[in-house]
Each structure stands twice: as C-alpha cells, then as structure tokens.
C-alpha cells in the first residue's frame, strides 16, 4: 500500500483544517474589525472547554438530547406504524390520507403558538414539536416504501403459504426499509434544527436557550460553540442512520 493510500482516509479532514487555520489567522490579524464579533478558533475551543468543565454545556446539551430522543423516537415509531397501516390497507389509506395531506404541509414551527396555548411552556412542548417534525415525513416515506414493494413478491409469499401478517413482517417491511431509512435519516437532522428553534423561542433550557442567552450577552464564542455542537449532532444522527441502513440492507441491495 502506498503512502497516498494510507493518507486517503484522512483527506476529508484537510479542508476543515485549512478552514480553521484561515479562521484563526484572519481573527488574530484583526482583518475583520471588532474582535468581539469574530473570535479566533482557539478562543472558541477555550470557551468550549470552559463550558464543558463547568457543566453548563453538558446540562443544556443533555436537556436538548433527551427531548430530541423522546420526540424523535415517538414520532418515528408512530410514523412507521401509521404509515405501515396506510401502505398495507387501502381502506386506512383512503380514510387517513386526506387528513395527513392537510397537516403535512404545515411548517413544524408554525405549531408553536398553538401548542404553547394547548400544552403550556413545559417539557412536552419541544417533545411534541419534535414528534410532529418526525411523524409526517417518516409516515410518508413508510407509505411510499410499502406501496413500492413489487406485488409479485407478495403473490410469491402468498403462494408459498404465508399469511398476511407474515408477508407484512418478513417481505414487505424489509423491502420498504430503504425508504423508511431515508425518512429517518432526513428527520434525525431536522429534529435538531427544530429543537434549537423551539428552545430559542419558548423553553429556558437546552442548547437553543443557551444560544439566546449568549446572544443577549454578545458572547459570539458561546454562540459558535452551540452551533458547532448542533452541527456535530445533526451529522452524528444522520450518519448513525446511514450506518444502520447500510448494516441492514447493504448485503442485498
């Protein structure tokens, strides 16, 4: 194996390193006026360390993470269950599709005023928002995935003696997995974007709330720390589902 081959896996990080170096130099040389507004990368790292060591970052991060996990898991499971019923049973699809089509186009953040009044400002508010944000896209992808399964596979399973339940669980659902994962992957990142927005608007804890506090104190370094945490979490969630999808479907796709 040549040196180039050995280096190749790390090459993806090269542009990031170059970007950070330029950032550091530009900030240190005061090329952009007002150091308040453009702290060097090293200052951001120092602030990250300070926020982590003091527990502020961990506490807020944990609040956001728990909300995302609960809302996303509940929304996804509900989306997969309802989507499966709609995709599998024509009657259910006919009954539910008009309602789903009506609610799906509403932007998730558009629900905030209504939910503030209905639920109040408490933990359930961001969780419900994440639920809504995850539910509809996962539902649509599940319905599409199930409907796209070639009917010959279903006929084949039926002639082999499989019951409807067995066909659904052993043929249709596995073949719909790629579509379901597309929904999960996209919404995993979206859940983080929504939680930040919700916390900025209505909830006093979490990464979004920390962002708002930093803004009022003009602490650009803290804002950047929060944004980096957000970017890393979006990426981590998306990559996790990408990995899971590959593990479950790469062998046969």
């Amino acid at each position: 194996m040549t040196i180039l081959h050995k280096l190749r896996p790390g090459w993806g990080l090269l542009p990031v390193a170059v970007f950070l170096a330029i950032w550091e130099i530009v900030a240190r040389l005061n090329l952009i006026p007002g150091q308040f507004f453009f702290p060097p990368f090293s200052a951001v790292v120092a602030e990250f360390y300070y926020l982590s060591a003091s527990g502020v970052l961990g506490e807020n991060f944990l609040s956001s993470l728990v909300r995302v996990l609960i809302g996303f898991c509940a929304g996804s499971v509900a989306g997969i269950v309802v989507g499966t019923i709609m995709g599998w049973k024509k009657v259910a699809n006919r009954a539910l599709n008009p309602i789903v089509s009506l609610f799906y186009p509403i932007p998730t953040l558009g629900w905030i005023p209504l939910l503030m009044l209905w639920i109040g400002i408490n933990e359930m508010l961001p969780i419900t928002l994440i639920f809504i944000c995850s539910f509809f896209p996962v539902l649509y992808n599940t319905v599409t995935g199930i409907k796209n399964v070639d009917s010959d596979y279903i006929k084949a399973a039926r002639t082999l003696g499989a019951s409807d339940g067995k066909i659904l669980t052993t043929v249709v659902m596995p073949l719909a997995l790629p579509n379901i994962f597309t929904g999960l992957r996209l919404e995993a990142g979206m859940a983080w974007r929504v939680i930040i927005a919700a916390e900025m608007v209505a909830i006093p804890t979490g990464i979004g709330a920390l962002l708002m506090k930093a803004e009022s104190l003009i602490r650009i370094d803290i804002i950047i720390v929060c944004l980096i945490v957000l970017a890393v979490m979006c990426l981590t969630f998306e990559k996790f589902f990408e990995y899971l999808e590959a593990r479950l479907t790469a062998k046969w796709r």
Binding site: D150, D152, Y153, K155, A156, A157, R158, T159, L160, G161, A162, S163, K166, T170, V171, P174, L175, T249, K251, W252, R253
Partner: protein
Amino acid sequence: MPSITLKNVCKYVCQDINLEIFDKELLVVLGSNGAGKTTLINIIAGLVDYKGSVLFNDIPVDKLPANKREVGYLFQGLVLFPHLDVVANIAYGLSAQRWPRPQVEARVDELLDLMNIKHLASRYPKQLSGGERQRVALARAIASSPRVLLLDEPLSSLDAKTAKYLRTELKQLQRRLGITAVYVTHDLMEAVEMADRVAVIQGGQVEQVAEPEKVLFYPEGERVADFIGSPNILDCDYCRDLGQGIAEVGCGGLKLTVPHEGGEVRKVAILPRHIYVSETRPPGLSVNGFQGSITAIKPVGNTVRIWIDVDDTNLMAEVPSYIFEEMNLAEGKEVFLILRMRRIRCYESNN
C-alpha cells in the same frame, strides 16, 4: 381422475374455461400475449377472484385463499426475495407453513443437493446468475411438495442456450418428482419440447387440448392453425433409422434428416421461419439443403412469406422484411434452402 379441474371459469379475458389437468402430467398452456395464460394459472393459484369452479382431486378449492391451496408458483421474473439468501428463500414457504425447524433444515439441504446449488447457499439473489436464480426459484416452489407446480414463462428472461438446457432439466425434474405441472408459454417449440399435453388458449378460450404432435400436425380450427404459424407438413413414404437419435425420411421427392425417437415417422412438420433461404449455395456440407424455384411471394406483417417448389413439394418459408429487402428475390428465381434439422418435428406412429 383429473388432478385439477376447471369448470366454467371466468376472469378478465378468460371466458368459460373448462380444463382437466391429469395427475403427474406437464400441461403446457400455449397462447399469444394477452390470451389469458397467466390469468388461468393465477386462477388455479387463487391469486385472483373468479367465477366458476376449480377442483383439486374433485374437491372445490374456490373458498381457499392462495396461501392454503398448496401450489408451487414459478413466476416469470422468478421473484426471489432480494433480502433473503438462498437458504432463507428456499426455507421461506416451509417456515410460513410452520414446519419444525429440523425438518426445514433437512428439506432445504435435500433441495440444495437436488438442484445442485449447495455452493450458493449463503448468496443473495443479486449475486446469482440467471440460471442459478432459476434453480433457486424452482427449489423454493417445490420445497413443500405442492399439489401442482405452476410455471409462468420462467425461462423467458434467459439466453437461448441456458433456457434450452434448463428446459430439459425442468422436464426431467418434473418427471422424477412426479409432480403435476402447468407451464405457460407463448413459444410453440418450447411447448412441443416440454409438454405431455398442450392446451392452446386464444382470446381467453381453450381452443385445443391435445398431445403436442397432434396440435402441431392437426390443429383444430383456424385460430390454432393461425397461432401455430402454418407449418409445412409433409407425409413420409419411408423412414430409416440412422442411429444417434436421427433418421432419414422420404417425403415425396425430398430426403430429410430428422430427429428420431424410435418410432415410424409418418409426418414431419417444419415452421416457415425455420427454413433458411439463400440466393447463393451455402458453403460446405448442408444437412437438409435443397434447391428450388420461387412460385409466390407475399408480405405478411413484418415478415415475407415465400413459396418454393422443391421437386414436387411446395414449401413455405418466412423471412423478416428487413432481410427480404436486402435480397434480390422474385418469382421464378432459383434459391437454396436449408431446413433446420433440430427444428423439424416428427409425428411417429407410436405416438
């Protein structure tokens, strides 16, 4: 007693179909596209609702859903489950029918041996060739020893050579297992090669059910004759066995070398499309090569029919229009013909 009986069955194009399929026979359902062939076997499988009655061993099964009819179905596209490996594909039906696990494993092992695919056990369908996929699909279809095996043009997606090989293997396997089978095809020669009996279906009606040679030599009605493609049928004066599964027969002034199964050949048939026409003498030795003069030319759809006098016999050949346009053929012109030996069908007296 017939193994499967269809009484006044109607669905889509199929109207009032009456058909009996005997135990352990391979019945080929032959017809053009849209004739109702696939609908017919879907009715037997219970995959579509229908009017009329289907009986298995004289017991009506109309109320039984597809998963209770105990049929094996080999689909046109084979339809192996892409997310399951070969073993899991074969075992699928057995597990669905709640066979105990040790029995499932033993049966799958037996089928892997029978189909000679043990080395493919852990592969996924996308990792298999067309022929291998066909074997796996067949193993899956027969795994639970179905009452009837339904085959919907299963070889149509394969190349000619593999299809021919698998056709023979399929026929041998059906005989060995003694399974009743219904094989759907639009290919006359495939039907003749495979069938114990042929049911010709056109426009949703069963036009003729008979042994392949009878369908070929004595088509009942214009629709069957049209579909079969008006073969040249020649009466034979004598038959001399040459060994190696071939014989020399005399048909009027023509001496033909034909495939031979041991009986006295009384008639031979060859489809017009299986007669090659050339303006120049083909090089080298040619079996069944003749010279004759064109008596008539008539375009029919995308082909051109050419009638040629060879000695006292008038033969009809058929060439695609685009080839005819490149040739310089006219009535009265002398041409050379080759009758493809392996495509000649014989009606032997022991038939």
